[in-house]
Amino acid sequence: MTTFIDYLLGGLGSGAIIALMALALVLIWRSTRVVNFAQVGQAMFTTFIALSIQTWTGSWYVALIGALAAGAVLGVIVQYLVLRPVKRSDTSGAIIATFGVLIALQAAAGMIWPGGSQAFPQPFNNSGIEFAGRVWPISIYDFVVIGITALLVLGLTLLFTKTSLGLSMRAAAFNPEVARLSGVRVSRVLTFGWALAGSVGAVAGVLVAPVSTISPNSFDILLVFAFVAAVIGGLDSLIGAISIGVFTGLVISLVSGYSDSGNAPVVALLLLALNLILKPEGIFSHHKARSV
């Protein structure tokens, strides 16, 4: 039983990071109906920037704020230069363009920060917490990760439901033409969505880097799991991305613990296929089957 709890606790931290990355994908999907495969590249790039800031100033907090800002700026750049000119109907064009950005960002990171894997200093104590006479594999740092994730979700929910900016974002995503007619400055709102997603992705990168290492390709696998989580969660749903993201982390941990870690991608694929057979539009989607 304690082993089972250990597995669950162990999956929680990585689940939160998958959830954040899935959240970034969902934010962009909601605002521009594009799946941004460059997201992990942006996150990697901003994490390198954060690392440079950290080495320079020695402060994790400054690095985190720097990453937030850099993530937003990079998101805006990608949206403005690459995605905006792509036609909204051109799904495969948009996908290809984001992959192009990913390849370019990884190459650029390899040029700017040579030397392969780099360590990101641990900002908080990452040793397990002792409780009831036993050390549990969850640390202060995990609580920081989970706490930041929860704060972000709360903030985003409030933004979307309580503020006029959030309402305009939803309107612009739902029907840009109607939104434009009702006075929403659609392109500005969409750009804000990209900035927001860029920041969320950057946070995910900065949070995962200390427990892993950072290299131009180190988040690649994260993309696959985050995308799977976002799709199962329904792409439109913040809560879907978060809960399925955490769930994916737990499943990976349990599968790795009880069978073999090599089974994790296979299990993820099976879950995805099963979900798409039973509920093609994702678990948390509000969409009904289209009628004529």
């Binding site: 495969s92 290809i96 363009a97 992959f99 190459a107 030397g115």
Partner: protein, 454 residues
């Protein structure tokens, strides 16, 4: 007036003629180029084969697939496993040959295509992309899960199925003087019998104690530009690769450098002599032939009723349904066809690599196929051909541009990917119809201009 092209069988014959002309031209070209070019031709033809399926799936039926590389893996593994394990054709009992493996690979592709198409037909846009991404990652992972069958991460090595007769593979095998011996497998000479003290060297002192200061390389006596005439090129980091050492300059030894003692049996002769069996040339013929056969099917489908049906469902599912077309059926058929094409391409790939393994069929391959078909022009088969050529030529061109600029290693190494990524973005932005689409648009505009000028 009778339209000759509408006579029964005319489409068959005209398509056959088109494909035959291309086939004959490529085979002729293949005979005249050197082996490396033949190898690139083989790769391009293999990519084009898979991308014919992408044109149908992405261009005509409007479904995005990030997983066709994994469908190629199905073909590759079926090819490898059947040709490694089967001596006779099941049930029929005939002698096995690679053609059968190709056919079984195709069947494997059809079966998997049916399954994926069945799930995928209900999905739209990103959900379908999600499913296919899962397939791109999951299928190679399955191969590593069952190493006894699929050879795990290392994969399976194949002997290239040389065609019986017509070629002389022996011309290429080389014997070395002290041919190491067939009868001794892994077993090693017992270690104890070997003296473990290192044998003395004639030209150098044996141990640290006796090594004089002059024999030790130190920062002070490291040859510098002044001390050594040839050293100027070598010692500073900023002039790292000199023109002298550039790959193009060293491709062939200069005439004067050729020694006098000519040994006609030396390795490499066979590669350059025109008559002997050249592996790359054989691979190119195989790939070109497969591409032409698949291209013939694709041409018939695209320019026939099936092509119209796919486009109809892509344009308007509801209107297609009330016209008597099953949208799901049409999408599944597009998946099955593209999966069949991908599997054949995978079987060809297995023979070009003489190897199958999960690393060769990773997500990168799937993305390459999508990139290629979008760059070439996703709406027509010509786009697939151009895409196939681009996938081979583009990295090479970019590498040639980036290489030997005297940049630091980390810049040079990553420059090809940077340029490649930016190029992909640029083409999507500037020429959304791909290269072929832009050419068509350009000609149409020119024609319109000349017409209005009249």
């Amino acid at each position: 007036m009778v339209n000759l092209l509408r006579l029964p069988g005319a489409r068959f014959l005209s398509h056959l003629a088109i494909v035959f002309v291309i086939w004959a031209a490529l085979m002729r070209i293949n005979d005249g180029i050197d082996p490396l070019m033949s190898y690139y031709l083989a790769l391009a033809a293999m990519y084009a084969t898979a991308m014919f399926g992408m044109v149908i799936l992405v261009g005509l039926s409007g479904q995005v697939s990030l997983g066709n590389g994994a469908l190629m893996a199905i073909g590759g593994y079926v090819f490898a496993l059947t040709s490694l394990n089967w001596q006779t054709v099941p049930i029929l009992g005939w002698q096995w040959n690679p053609i059968w493996s190709m056919i079984f690979a195709g069947f494997g592709g059809i079966a998997v295509g049916l399954l994926i198409g069945w799930i995928g037909a209900r999905l739209r846009g990103p959900y379908l992309a999600g499913l296919t991404l899962g397939i791109a990652v999951g299928i190679p992972a399955i191969a590593t899960r069952f190493p006894e069958i699929f050879g795990g991460e290392t994969g399976l090595m194949l002997t290239v199925p040389y065609p019986a007769g017509g070629y002389a593979p022996a011309a290429e095998t080389v014997t070395i003087d002290e041919a190491p011996l067939a009868e001794v497998p892994l077993e090693q000479a017992p270690l104890d019998e070997v003296p473990l003290e290192q044998a003395p060297l004639e030209q150098a002192p044996l141990d640290t104690e006796t090594a004089g200061a002059g024999d030790m390389l130190t920062a002070d006596n490291f040859p510098s530009a002044e001390s050594s005439p040839a050293a100027g090129d070598m010692l500073t980091a900023d002039n790292f690769p000199s023109a002298e050492s550039s790959p193009s300059a060293l491709a062939l030894p200069s005439e004067s450098a050729l020694p006098n003692d000519i040994d006609p049996t030396a390795a490499g002769d066979a590669l350059l002599a025109g008559s002997a069996f050249v592996l790359e040339r054989w691979q190119a013929s195989l790939a070109v032939t497969a591409a032409c056969i698949i291209g013939f099917f694709a041409l018939n489908l695209v320019r026939g009723r099936q092509g119209r049906i796919w486009r109809a469902v892509r344009d308007d599912e509801v209107a297609a349904a009330v016209s008597g077309i099953s949208p799901a059926g049409s999408k599944i058929s597009a998946f099955v066809v593209s999966s069949f094409f991908a599997a054949i391409a995978g079987a060809v790939f297995a023979q070009i690599l003489s190897y199958v393994g999960p690393g060769a069929f990773g997500l990168g391959l799937s993305l390459s196929l999508l990139v290629g078909v979008v760059l070439g022009g996703r709406a027509s088969l010509g786009g697939a051909i151009i895409g196939g050529v681009l996938l081979v030529a583009l990295p090479q061109l970019v590498f040639n541009i980036a290489g030997d600029r005297g940049w630091p290693a980390n810049v040079t190494d990553n420059a090809p990917n940077l340029v490649y990524g930016l190029l992909v973005v640029l083409v999507v932005l500037i020429a959304p119809g791909g290269i072929l689409g832009s050419l068509k648009d350009g000609t149409r505009r020119l024609l319109a201009k000349s017409r209005s000028a009249k």
